[in-house]
Amino acid sequence: MDLLAATFAWLADPAHWQGPDGIPTRLEEHLAICAVSLLVAAALALPIGAFIGHTGRGALVAVNAANVGRAIPSYAVLVMVLPISLRLNPEYGLDIIPTFTAMTLLAIPPILVNTYAGLREVDPDLVEAARGMGMRERQVLLRVEAPIALPVILGGLRTAAVQVVATATLGAIVAYGGLGRYLIDGIARQEDDRLLAGVILVAGLALVTEAGFAIAARLLASPGLERTVEVRPYRELGEVPRPPDLAP
């Protein structure tokens, strides 16, 4: 209980809310690396996932490659990238490039696999009907398959985002900032309040991310998909209500 009290005291200390090691700065750094990694991962994984999901071609290779990617720990990526990136660019090769690379590789598999799976799950009759209506392939993908698969695709993005938010803490090992700083520094300095405060902040951010994507999924998903549409009783055309003053 002492530790918990100390942690909340740490979090409440105004000194920890300002300056280069303050919570706002660390949060900003954390969000920046997460957002950029997610955007790049999405830019890579969404088109590939859409292509293989729509055509069914290369699915085996892509999905297996993604799953192998899932098996490589981000820490290993970090350590493997570091010597190469340092050589390429001393200024960003130490902290930003390894963290960004590890986080992008972490985010690709869930996005890719869910995009593929979401598109595959679309009822083939609908796709056939769309083609029968004369839609081009691009239109079939964007107007029929994508909207129906959207909740699954967003689920992949959500998984990726939560994983990245939690794992970007590793960047602190290679001198990156972000909320991981509190974890690494807390351990190194044997300051348990700093460490636990970092844990709470990261967990909180992960929950907020999760909630944010859940809300986005509700707002963006086509109303025809999961929610049942209210069916109004059919009325005869002639039964137009009359104004009260015209009543006999």
């Binding site: 350590v79 570091l82 010597p83 340092l86 050589r87 001393p90 200024e91 090769g93 130490l94 902290d95 602190a172 090992i173 290679v174 001198a175 700083r181 690494i184 520094d185 351990i187 190194a188 300095r189 044997q190 300051e191």
Partner: protein, 323 residues
């Protein structure tokens, strides 16, 4: 705690097994396996009789093993029989092994070795550390022989070109150019009296005002960062192979802020009582005196980077340094 005990127990068993297995064939085995911590009452051996076998242990990492091997080979070359128990594990295992008489000799860092018994005692003065350690160990029936000039302590290191550019030789030289450099410092530096504290108090460098990249000291990433110019000054260990590998310049800690970590053999008094103590000590002191920080770093490259056998590295070094 439980794990440490298990480790200690396991290591003790191994040592015992080793002693039993090798003791059988040797004629000196009764002398070598006398009960631990008996008073040094045995009479010195007569010059004609071969000296009793000595059991040499070391900590688990390569540098400690290498020093143990070097001492072992020096003694073997002078007619001693050596039983090697190198690489016992951390100090929590190796120190009790020496105290309880499971080994007779182990190389020790005089700063950390002293800190093991009393955290407040280590200083930047090697002679003071050695004397203090000798006082503490005398009560346990252990002698501290002469220490090496070589030190394995935390140290600040720069690339050669940086050293040339600003004329850096000592830590004091850093004070004037501190603002121009990017610092690679461990995450705990800000609160560590031996890091930020020492830099501020002894050298007038305020770490909080510098451009700092937080990287664990003595680790591979910080050495790579220094080599690739992501940082300009880094906290490494003074015998870290990267220093020799990449030709870094080790800045002399001229104000002696870091605990002196020279290496000295610790020997049990009950063993010394069985041999010609003066001759024994001279053998090891002479070899210790030749081991400098630069030499030890170079040997570290051979062992840890080139993956050469510790025995071969020790043999080659002894051959090269003996007249």
């Amino acid at each position: 705690m439980r794990l440490n005990r298990a480790l200690a127990l396991g290591a003790s068993l191994l040592v015992l097994l080793g002693a039993c297995a090798t003791g059988g064939g040797s004629t000196q085995s009764p002398a070598a396996s006398t009960a631990p911590s008996t008073a040094p009452s045995a009479a010195p051996a007569t010059p004609s009789a071969p000296p009793p076998a000595i059991r040499i242990g070391s900590d688990g990492f390569y540098e400690s093993k290498l020093m143990g091997e070097i001492y072992a080979q020096v003694l073997e070359a002078n007619g001693y029989t050596v039983e090697r128990n190198l690489g016992l594990g951390p100090r929590k295992v190796s120190a009790p092994a020496l105290e309880s008489g499971q080994i007779d000799l182990k190389p020790e860092y005089i700063g950390s070795g002293l800190g093991y018994y009393d955290k407040t005692k280590p200083t930047g003065d090697p002679a003071a550390n050695a004397a203090e350690l000798a006082t503490i160990l005398a009560a346990k029936g252990i002698s501290v022989l002469g220490f090496t000039p070589a030190q394995d302590t935390n140290a600040f290191v720069v690339r050669k070109e940086t050293a040339d550019q600003y004329g850096l030789k000592t830590m004091s030289d850093l004070t004037a150019v501190a603002d121009k450099l990017t610092w690679g410092l461990p995450p705990e530096c800000a609160t560590n009296p031996l890091c930020a504290g020492a830099l501020k108090d002894a050298y007038g460098i305020d770490v909080a005002a510098q451009k700092v990249k937080a990287l664990a000291a003595c680790d591979a990433p910080i050495a790579e960062a220094l080599q690739n110019k992501a940082v300009d000054v880094a906290e490494l260990c003074s015998t870290q192979p990267a220093i020799a590998q990449f030709g870094f310049v080790l800045l002399e800690d001229d104000k002696r802020t870091q605990p002196a970590e020279n290496i000295a053999p610790l020997v049990r008094d009950d063993y010394l009582a069985k041999v010609d103590k003066a001759a024994f000590s001279k053998l090891l002191d002479d070899v210790s005196a030749k081991m400098t920080t630069a030499e030890l770093t170079r040997l570290g490259v051979e062992v840890a980077v080139d993956n050469k056998d510790i025995k071969d590295v020790a043999t080659a070094w002894l051959k090269a340094t003996s007249p």
